[in-house]
């Protein structure tokens, strides 16, 4: 991630009103902030993010406004004054009286919901109380000759307010703040990284597009799924297939190279994928300092024409003919995907919807894509390709072949087409086979599809100990999922009371097709857990610190987490014997369930009294023993 604003970058413009806009900064354009004014984009290029700029008055003879970086001492001047005033130094009960919704000051951030704290009624109240002597026309006139970045208007408004003496210092501060929001010509430029993007999408765009997924949820999902840098890129050797070689010449899979691969179901238009890519070091092109090494990894030959330029538009990525470290020119069957540190997206439509990745310069639909780390680390396939590849044409059709002479006789455009199709065949073959080979490090979902159905097909693909983290805007689908792994289900399964499991091998049970009673094999996940989390914001101002009055509502958001287990073979008998003994009693299955629960730690939930009585959880002991941080 760059720390300065680069040409072509998407940025968040934060306006005094607390509104955020996302724009792409192109050189030699003008950026308009509506009523706050406009300025040349060149004035923010190569400047650091997170500074506060002020739009200056136009200089004589200049057709544009210049900018000024506002020093923080100036930004905080009023707060510092407040801190110095005795009222705040020693807050009296009275001092708190006039502190309803104090908007979170000018410093409110891309994260904070600036200004949201002032409710409509409060605004009205203020307006009613305000006995502004300036007429609207006068104000308009003032604004036209605006000087000093709007500060003069504000000062004038303040001094023309007849009720100003009657205001408490707090409501005065609020009045000033409201007017400041309206007239001050300041703005901030924030980078469009995942946290800022999320905030903008949630609060100002369409939260439903990203399934209302908040930063808290993304954080939990990313951590519980253990998503992290999965190792340096490793590529398969180019099989060097000639144009007459068919499917037998495809590069063979090498599952032993697999490392750090995550399976993803993303119905958030790519927000989830972006967050994962960020955690895996795949979202941002490497920074300028490292530019020289960049070529090694960001090789791009997706759909690249190699034989001729004529058939092709002149839009090759500049300068770089970056290739994998082997072979001067990859053959059609060369696999451009790393075997490590990858994201494999399974999608329900024929194309994945990852449109939000455009904010980070990635467009999965673009041919001849300029270099981007995701090119070699993002794989995608349809559910049909995953589950029944033989029914997918692109997968099942053999690659085109032709003799070298025929190829040479073709027009360049036809040759290009031929190569492109062969490359596509080889890549689809590789993606589908590699995905079906399984051994994924984790599964991450934020999907509108039923999670039970997702797990039915993906559980067999997870390596032992792999992580599962599934986000849902509402709890019901996750509750149903968790219920598939309930203690009674696991008990019934392990004690042999599920007739369909009889005679099945471990391998067959891993690929359990599901029955109405047992949609999933309940022994394939371990430590299933449901959670939710929410950030509660406060404003911190001298003598006026309190939680915000309103927060975003809507979907709460929940996360299901678990680890992939590899059930032992043969333990079923032991439990069965036990059960038989107990079935003589009247409450057979209940007793068996209770008994097996304790014997089978898989099912040993905290809320079973027997457990708690015999062995208090060590975690709790340690908690109480630990010194409170205050004591330090």
């Amino acid at each position: 991630m760059d720390s300065v604003i680069k040409p072509g970058a998407w940025v968040v413009l934060q306006l005094p009103s607390g509104i955020n806009r996302v724009i792409q900064v192109s050189p030699n354009t003008t950026i308009s902030l509506g009523k706050y004014g406009s300025f040349p984009a060149n004035l923010i290029l190569e400047r650091p993010y997170n500074l506060t700029f002020e739009i200056l008055d136009r200089k004589e003879g200049e057709k544009f406004s210049r900018l000024r970086v506002v020093p923080t001492a100036e930004l905080y001047a009023e707060i510092f004054a407040d801190e110095a005033s005795p009222e705040c130094a020693a807050p009296t009960p009275n001092a708190g009286v006039a502190t309803p919704a104090e908007p979170a000051s000018a410093e409110s951030t891309g994260q904070a919901t600036a200004g949201k704290d002032v409710t409509e009624t409060e605004l009205k109240l203020l307006d009613e109380n305000a006995r502004q002597t300036l007429t609207q026309d006068e104000i308009e006139e003032l604004k036209k000759n605006v000087t000093n970045a709007g500060k003069s208007v504000i000062d004038k408004l303040m001094s023309s307010h007849t009720a100003i003496d009657q205001k408490t210092s707090f409501s005065l501060a609020k009045y000033k703040l409201l007017k400041t929001k309206k007239y001050i010509r300041r703005f901030k430029v924030l980078p469009v990284d995942v946290p800022n993007f999320l905030e903008w999408q949630l609060s100002e765009r369409d939260p439903s597009k990203i399934l209302d997924i908040r930063a808290e949820m993304l954080g939990l999902v990313g951590c519980w799924a253990n998503v992290h840098y999965g190792g340096d890129a490793v590529y398969l050797e180019d099989p060097g297939a000639r144009c007459d070689a068919g499917g037998e010449a495809y590069a063979p899979l090498k599952p032993e190279l697999f490392k750090g691969r995550w399976l993803v179901v993303d119905d958030t238009c790519g927000a989830l994928t972006a967050a994962m890519a960020e955690r895996m070091g795949l979202l941002y092109p490497e920074e300028e300092e490292d530019e020289d090494e960049e070529g090694e990894e960001d090789r791009d030959d997706q759909e690249k024409e190699e034989t001729d330029q004529s058939a092709q538009q002149n839009t090759e990525p500049p300068a770089k003919t970056s290739k994998p470290p082997r072979g001067p020119r990859p053959s059609d069957f060369a696999i451009p995907y790393s075997q490590t540190n990858t994201i494999t997206v399974v999608h329900a439509a024929s194309q994945p919807n990852l449109s939000f990745l455009k904010y980070w310069g990635f467009d999965i639909t673009a041919p001849n894509h300029p270099p981007h780390p995701l090119l070699n680390h993002l794989l995608n396939l349809t559910w049909l390709q995953l589950v029944q590849p033989e029914r997918d044409l692109a997968y099942s059709l053999p690659p085109l072949t032709t003799s070298a002479e025929t190829l040479m006789s073709w027009k360049p455009s036809r040759r290009g087409n031929f190569h492109r199709k062969r490359r596509r065949s080889a890549r689809i073959r590789h993606i589908v086979d590699a995905t079906r080979a399984g051994n994924f490090s984790g599964l991450v979902c934020a999907s509108t599809m039923d999670p039970v159905s997702i797990l039915k097909y993906t559980l067999p693909l997870l390596a032992g100990g792999a992580t599962v983290a599934i986000y849902s805007p509402s709890i019901e689908p996750l509750a149903e999922l968790a219920d598939c792994f309930s203690v009674p289900r696991r008990t019934a399964w392990t004690s042999g009371s599920v007739p369909e499991t009889a005679g099945k091998t471990a391998e067959e049970l891993e690929r359990w097709p599901g029955t109405p009673d047992f949609p999933l094999n309940p022994t394939l996940l371990l430590g299933t857990s449901l959670q939710t989390s929410r950030a509660r914001r406060s404003q911190v101002l001298p003598g006026r610190t309190h939680p915000l009055m309103t927060e975003r509502g809507g979907a709460e958001g929940y996360v299901f987490t678990a680890f992939r287990a590899k059930p032992a073979e043969g333990h079923v008998e032991a439990m069965g014997k036990w059960k038989k003994k107990k079935t003589e009693g009247s409450n057979s299955s209940v007793a068996a369930a209770a008994a097996a629960q304790d014997a089978a730690p898989v099912g040993a939930d905290k809320d079973i009294p027997v457990e708690d009585a015999t062995d208090p959880l060590p975690a709790d002991e340690e908690m109480t023993d630990a010194p409170a941080p205050l004591a330090e």
Binding site: L45, P48, Q111, L220, L530, F563, A599, A619, A626
Partner: protein, 519 residues
Amino acid sequence: MAPTTRSLAQRGSPFLDPGPVTKANSLALLHLSRDNLEPVYLAQTAGEHDGYAEGVVVNTRYGSYPHSSMIGIPWGTQIRASKVDTGSRGRKRKRPNGDDAGPSSDGTPADTPAETETPEPPQNPAKQPVATTSGFIHILPPTPELWTLSLPHRTQVVYTPDYSYILHRIRARPGTVLIEAGAGSGSFSHASVRAVYNGYPDRDGKHKGKVFSYEFHEDRYRKMKKEIQDHGLEGLVQLTHRDVYNGGFLVDGESPKASSIFLDLPSPWEALPHLSRQRPQSDKAENGSETTEEDEKPWVSPLDPKKNAYLCTFSPCIEQVTRTVSALRRLGWVDIDMLEIAHRKLHTVRDRVGLNLPYDRSVNVSAKDVDEALGRLTEIEDRLRENSRPRAGADAMDDDDDIEADDNNITAPASTAEASSARPWKDGRLVTRGEPEIKSHTSYLVFAILPREWTGEQEAAALAKYPVGETGHIVGALDKAARKKERREHLESLKNQGSRKARRNEGFERLAKISETAV
């Protein structure tokens, strides 16, 4: 291939790359039951150890597990308890039910469920062989989340709901250099090293993520140091024994060049002045006379001069927050944001209510709906009528008592009970509940950003590179009319382009342009 894997295995951390199977001399987590994990360093021993013929053995209440049975197996494997030969060793654990099975052949008899409701004595010889085969656990690769739940607590620690959010907000990503103080029990250290990891240093010239951690408590420092070694994190986590209030964050006089900072200290404001871009004002003012010679030395910032610094402080009390925020403002930090994380765990249960359900302590024996209530009431009324007919005019009080008794005696027909108990996992309504106790407050999180320095020289250079002159087309907030016009034009152009291919090409051209200008 083989030699590479071996060398990786030697230096790699099981947290970052556990490999497909468990390894000797490496950390693994035994999953005993939900949230009940036990960390073990798998030891390959030849011969007897500590009285066990099997070598090192982990004893849990789910049985005994020799390490040798847990090495070289796939992660996530369910491991069955072993019969271990304890020789003359007695049982270490005292059992509440006074089990004195002694040096039994399997070491697990006491692990049979000590169900208070089960009257059979656990010594019942018939049960013994059953119990020996019933114990099992799972073995999981270490992750920061599991480590946080199982680590030896030396201090209060930062848990997953907090650190997951913090790391997201302070932009701890692969390649980031992160400062953390104090290290405490290392919970946050483990989570943060995973976030910043992008390979071990010195592998190639590439810039590598790293955690600089500080701890002034001698004992905690030593324990943490050992942990870093044991977990293969050397070179990725650099721990310094230091009081950061006075000593700051430089390591051997050199700047870590950090861009993410996490302070879990009682008085973060005392550490903040060290995290400046230039020698902080107060530094000069307050210690003016003492530090004259210090003043002559050039001041080195621990921050990366080319990056914005993202900070989070973690304080349980609001007074700490107030002081921290005030200090941050004076030190030029912006985008100050304060919040706390409210986290809840939920579990699902089958709410079983009904008169006809088989008895079980989780069943609420009352009418599941109005119809069932009506059914029962009718039944009672019918009996009442039957009873009252032959004994007309008898003592009313007695009748009432009888009815009460009857009320309790009405039970479901056996067949119904049998039918529903056959599938206990499907009985009742699926509901979610919170935990009996919620951690309602951990700490307040204060976030802030310190932008990189921007000098007049840099400004002049940027201006020279991107001079202002003719202004091109307008981006950003247009007024309504202009926006409408633009949209109309856009739609038109789409219509004209028609084909999807054209649109794709447009997207691609745009990208190409960006990349061109970006290079």
